[in-house]
Assembly symmetry: C2
């Protein structure tokens, strides 16, 4: 996955309104007016948020007649999930190895196996 895609997608989701818009579009497509309806902000402000999400590849806007319909781009959400899952699994694998080490050695410091310092008692 191109770093730029992840950069833009993580940055776009760092705003609660944009996360809320993505969450609502996950429940179903909507027109720009429908997306804007719940917010106490101008249609222009909501359109700016949608433009950020579109540039991030998280939302697609298509023209249907005179309306612009918004839908979520699941491929980019999947790219974020893949990144998080891969590294989360690395941590879990490490914890499992430490559990095994603990089971084998009966060590009382399984979480810092290479650390010579002792915990203060």
């Amino acid at each position: 996955m191109d770093d730029g895609v992840l950069d833009r997608a993580f940055a776009a989701l760092a705003d609660p309104t944009r996360r809320d818009i993505v969450a609502r579009l996950c429940d179903g497509d909507a027109t720009v007016n429908e997306v804007a309806a719940p917010y106490a902000m101008s249609l222009q402000a909501v359109s700016k948020h949608l433009a950020v999400l579109e540039r991030a590849g998280l939302v697609r806007r298509t023209s249907v007649g005179r309306q612009r319909r918004c839908s979520v781009e699941t491929a980019t959400l999947d790219a974020l999930t893949t990144w998080l899952d891969r590294h989360r699994r690395a941590v879990e694998s490490r914890y499992r190895s430490l559990d095994l080490l603990l089971a084998r050695t009966g060590s009382e410091q399984p979480d810092q196996p290479t650390d010579p310092a002792r915990r203060p008692s």
Copy 2:
């Protein structure tokens, strides 16, 4: 989950160096010097990235003797995964419902069931 936690965590991961640091710490704890070693940037620059990650709750720095040891905070990674999974599941559930609808009705427009406009032929 507090919006601020997600705001800071998504924003922190919008930078490829910070994602790389998190990825490496998922493989194992490291000192600040070890974290900085692969990068063509000053120790101070790496420390700034670590400070952003620490404020975002993604990395914990603890003093061990004269060294500062960095480790990943899995709870915040889990919060991001939970947010993404919840909404990804909503999309999947919607697609399943549309598949069922398609199977029942034989409709040729299963992805826009509420849209009266026809696709241009």
